[in-house]
């Protein structure tokens, strides 16, 4: 029974339409925000709302991308691994939208004020740090770059995604007034995903080894896997 579900999930996720569908779905938050802005439904502070929304979606995509490996290991649905690069790149994309709206719409290209923000305000420093890491990972996300860097170095570099995740959560906690609940929930999820790498848990009491060959077989470039 469980094997059937796993097979169906694997088949669906490896279908020709699976990647285009996920791609389009990942653009929905952007389109939705545009639509709300266009129809005047973004509230009294549309600029701030779009900065907030894009930042939140950057964090969400980062956490989703980080959750794929634990999900794959827990469920044995190996095809989940196919979406890590795309969703990671969407995290970068939304972070880029987030940064551009802050620079262009919130600060109105006041570079002096922005530079002051970066060096003076820890939450902006931390956020910028996360963005720089994501940009580096996005730039080295191609198959060509994996080859050029070599699997080992590439893997080491892409462990940086955890630093970006923690920095993103910290950025969120630090920018709100008081100890609000939702930034803490994101941070807890991020810590959970980190902890999983250390102490993996799986469903159905299967050993780690049993999952491995299955997972390895579906990967086109094994070196892209470990982060």
């Amino acid at each position: 029974m469980a094997t059937d579900i796993r097979k169906t999930a694997n088949a669906a996720l490896t279908a020709r339409w699976a990647k285009p569908l996920v791609f389009v779905l990942a653009l929905v938050p952007l389109a939705w925000t545009f639509w709300l802005a266009y129809s005047g439904e973004l509230g009294a502070e549309p600029v701030l709302e779009s900065v907030k929304a894009s930042g939140l979606w950057a964090l969400r995509f980062l956490l989703i991308a980080l959750a794929l490996t634990p999900l794959r290991m827990m469920t044995g649905v190996a095809a989940l691994a196919r979406f890590r690069r795309m969703l990671g790149l969407f995290a970068f994309f939304y972070a880029l939208v987030h940064l551009s709206t802050y620079v262009g719409l919130d600060q109105f290209f006041d570079w002096a004020a922005i530079w002051k923000d970066i060096v003076k305000r820890p939450y902006i420093t931390v956020g910028m740090g996360a963005f720089v890491i994501l940009a580096l990972l996005a730039a080295t996300s191609t198959d060509g770059m994996v080859k050029r860097l070599g699997g080992k170095r590439w893997r080491a570099l892409h462990k940086g995604v955890f630093v970006a995740g923690v920095a993103g959560c910290l950025h969120f906690i630090m920018l709100v007034k008081g100890w609000q609940t939702s930034p803490l929930i994101y941070a807890a999820l991020c810590i959970g995903l980190l902890a999983f790498r250390r102490w993996p848990m799986r469903l159905g009491g299967k050993s780690r080894r049993a999952d491995r060959p299955d997972a390895v077989r579906t990967r086109p470039a094994a070196s892209r896997e470990s982060a």
Binding site: G43, A44, V47, F108, A113, Y123, G178, Q180
Partner: protein
Amino acid sequence: EAPTTIKPADQKFDPTTPKKSATTYNNFYEFGTGKSDPSENADTLQTRPWEVAIGGEVARPMTIGIEDLLKFPMEERIYRLRCVEGWSMVIPWIGFPLAELLKRAEPTGNAKYVAFQTLNDPKQMPGLRSWVLGWPYVEGLRMDEAMQPLAILAVGMYGEEMPKQNGAPIRLVVPWKYGFKSIKSIVKITLVDRQPPTAWNKSQPSEYGFYSNVNPEVDHPRWSQATERRVGEFSRRKTLPFNGYGEEVASLYAGMDLKTYF
């Protein structure tokens, strides 16, 4: 209840903020931390009957009902409101000077500060379940600040009764201080001989001082206070010292280092 008199004041600055913005973009954590939470959740607030207890260092302690508070001679005051978060609005309030109410209670010589308290009823205020702040929300002013004629108790805005999300039925408006000083839905006013605790100061003392006068020179530890965005406008504008009310209130702080007493 319409005000008995409306006296437009302080119109030399900017157009008023659209009423829809001022009533849907609010910080009132008793109803949630999201900006639209208060307008969505505050309908549970019961504003009638409503009483404000005035006590402490006064000759005539009293409990005064909202019906009697509405009998004070009302004025319309158009004030800038600067939030500590970096946005601002221009709001036409309806109310009366706080001093008028305090005088009625006859403060004694020991009354050096005024402490305010918001309603604290989890049945009416779902946000009280959150631990974002210590409840009840409390605020305070120095006596001379409280007696300054610009400080008003507001019972309405935009020519109408105060919306619940904006602090009905009666709230403080202190236009030269950051918005969180203007405590909402007041149930208790106590005159005291020493500086009273205030909600945001208790929560993060390094970030929110007792005075919290609008000051572009003193940054919030986590963001600049040099500029603000007027809600509804696109670009930022410079923040004014004392939110532009320096002429009236700067003398209250003569000789004080405003970086220390932020």
